[in-house]
């Protein structure tokens, strides 16, 4: 009875069987989308910055500058070169270098986004494929389960699950892996519905019947013949979901239920900055710009991909 918000976006997408999706035409169409190209370039820079964070960062992310820091955050060098103490973007409230933490925070965000979406897509594809291919009561049952998960708002549910982890063991046990797993496992209904919709239209097509006629098993038909044909909407959904997951992770970390300090994440950097927002604007501004730029780039890329994969839209 309901589909998620991003599914709705992708629902505008109709799979066009007559258009050959060669890599060259895809790239040509994608290149025409100027904002998507801009997004690709910006995201490329952010990914590079994250990968080379240990090389690029002027300080270690958790290093506290005892020499210059006197209890108040140090300003960025472009604001006050005399007192910045060699910290290009200043320091946070306990004297850690802002730029270095930003670079390492990018790692956290991108990794959570990537891995959680991989989990989500794998589970979602399997559930959606089985549901769409077999139909009947299996389909009915699986779709009712997706209804359940789509009706519970994800942020509070995630918070309850992570809070239970905290309450039962310790805050430190709320590790990177747990967050990735919880987000990934809870987000599968959207891709599942998408794959199911593709499979419903693909399973009665001639090539499926042909594959069945020559004696292929169900598994082989699902994975070798149907799934490759359903891949276009999955790619779009996955791209947009990386953006969603990055926002979700930063929100969890901001509320203290995500990546735990001292490990830097853009979300938990803002938790500390919130208290000092009056006298240290830089600590509150830069991590947010990091999140916004990353998420915006990914959303533009997703939009470009949708246009490129679905020429009927324009």
């Amino acid at each position: 009875m309901s589909t998620g918000q991003s599914v709705q976006e992708v629902a505008a997408f109709s799979y066009d069987e007559d258009v050959a999706f060669t890599k060259v035409t895809l790239w040509k169409r994608f290149r025409r989308h100027r904002l998507a190209m801009a997004g690709l370039i910006v995201l490329g820079c952010i990914v590079l910055a994250a990968v080379f964070a240990p090389v690029l960062a002027p300080f270690l992310p958790n290093h506290i500058d005892n020499v210059h820091w006197q209890g108040t955050p140090l300003p960025p060098c472009f604001e006050n070169a005399a007192t910045c103490g060699g910290h290009p973007l200043g320091t946070d409230e306990v004297g850690r270098d802002e730029l270095s933490r930003l670079l390492f925070g990018a790692r956290a965000s991108l990794q959570v986004g990537l891995f959680a979406v991989i989990i989500e897509i794998v589970i979602g594809s399997i559930v959606g494929a089985i549901s769409g291919y077999y139909g009947g009561w299996i389909d009915y049952l699986m779709m009712r389960i997706t209804d359940v998960f789509l009706s519970i708002p994800i942020l509070p549910l995630l918070l309850v699950l992570t809070a239970i982890v905290v309450a039962t063991s310790s805050r430190a046990s709320l590790s990177f892996g747990v967050i990735v797993l919880v987000i990934g496992v809870l987000s599968w209904p959207n891709p599942a519905r998408l794959v199911r919709a593709s499979f419903l239209s693909l399973r009665n097509r001639e090539f499926t019947e042909a594959a069945r006629a020559v004696g292929n098993g169900d598994l082989r038909i699902i994975f070798r013949h149907l799934l490759p044909n359903a891949v276009a909407p999955i790619i779009v959904q996955a791209t947009l979901d990386v953006a969603n997951v990055i926002v979700l992770e930063s929100t969890l970390s901001f509320l203290g239920m995500g990546i735990q300090p001292p490990t830097a994440s853009w979300g938990n950097m803002l938790t500390g900055a919130q208290v000092n927002v009056e006298n240290a604007w830089w600590a509150a501004v830069f991590p947010g710009i990091g999140i916004l730029l990353t998420v915006l780039s990914i959303n533009f890329i997703g939009d470009g991909l949708r246009d490129a994969l679905d020429p009927g839209m324009h």
Binding site: Q5, I152, P156, A163, L270, G288
Partner: protein, 320 residues
């Protein structure tokens, strides 16, 4: 009617899932906060477990829970030292005020911007609105809230003649009796912050839906009859273009609820979201359960409303 009946097993299934989450993933279920209390011994826990029936099979517990819940008893909130129902009902109006106001902003502004864009597709204004909508959709709510506080509350926006825009950014009133102007001042920032994501989303959907509708034959017929442009646009176009947008509005409920948690936390809004975060920090399982069930009901209810509105807008759709 059938739709309404379908919602009942769905809500039951949701409550089962939530019940299992609450009972099975925490070590002592609703007794979890007592585990860290040095005044409560293991023997006390065991006695409480028995008294509360937590040693019974899980399906028996669920049956008792469901029975009490259906009678309006959501249990006792350990973090508030009062009944969960009382705690939630006290904060519900504040949350409804905030969510209602931001939904109103998002729907009116989003739909207007979407129509404006669609009327002049690929114009400069359209590009600006569409790009801004992408920004709005990509904006993390909590950071936007911080930035709005920094801009409008900490520093204030200077105006000519020594005036300054400065808005309150904590709580829902300055206290001391009801004052409508004061209440609205307090509402502006949080409501706008919470509406941004939805506003952006609705404007994008309205634009593409309106563009689609404007290509339709009946629009050309209406124009051929010599009807004025605004009549065609609003009488014939809007109603049809709203059909997919209604679904998007209903589906945005979960993200509105999530956004309200963040907004209420940052703006110290005395609503359910903040209650939830407080309960979270103290493992107040009955409260968390009550909150999650209530929000799920809200989501399901909005889906129903959407289905009904959908059928009203598009008579071709018939529900039995």
């Amino acid at each position: 009617m059938r739709r309404t009946l379908q919602a009942i097993p769905l809500l039951l299934l949701i409550s089962v899932v939530l019940f299992l989450v609450a009972m099975k993933s925490s070590p002592a279920g609703p007794l979890t906060p007592y585990l860290t209390n040095p005044h409560i011994t293991a023997a006390d826990i065991a006695r409480l477990r028995h008294n509360f029936g937590l040693d019974k099979p899980i399906w028996v517990q669920y049956y008792f829970w469901l029975n009490r819940t259906l009678h309006g008893d959501l249990g006792y909130s350990t973090s508030n030292a009062e009944a969960v129902t009382t705690a939630i009902m006290q904060r519900l109006p504040a949350t409804l005020e905030l969510m209602g106001a931001s939904l109103l902003i998002a729907i009116t502004a989003g739909i207007s911007l979407g129509i404006f864009s669609a009327v002049r597709p690929y114009s400069t204004a359209d590009y600006i609105i569409t790009t801004l909508a992408f920004f709005g959709q990509s904006m993390p709510v909590f950071w936007f809230a911080l930035m709005m506080q920094l801009l409008f509350s900490v520093h204030g926006i200077p105006l000519p003649f020594g005036y300054e825009i400065q808005l309150p950014s904590a709580g829902m009133s300055s206290g001391g009796g009801f004052n409508l102007g004061d209440r609205i001042d307090h509402l502006i920032l949080p409501a706008f912050v919470l509406s941004l994501l939805q506003l952006a989303l609705f404007s994008r959907f309205m634009r593409s839906s309106m563009l689609e509708v404007m290509k339709a034959d009946y629009m050309r017929t209406a124009a051929a009859k010599g009807l004025p442009f605004h009549t065609i646009l609003f009488r014939h176009g809007l109603k049809n273009a709203m059909i997919p947008v209604v679904t998007v509005i209903a589906l945005s409920m979960p993200s509105l609820i999530g956004g309200a948690i963040v907004t209420e936390t940052i703006f110290a809004w005395p609503g359910m979201g903040r209650l939830f975060i407080n309960g979270l920090q103290q493992s107040d399982i009955p409260l968390l359960m009550g909150y999650l069930n209530l929000t799920a009901i809200l989501v399901v209810f909005f889906n129903l409303v959407a289905d009904v509105t959908y059928a009203w807008l598009d008579p071709r759709v018939k529900f039995d």
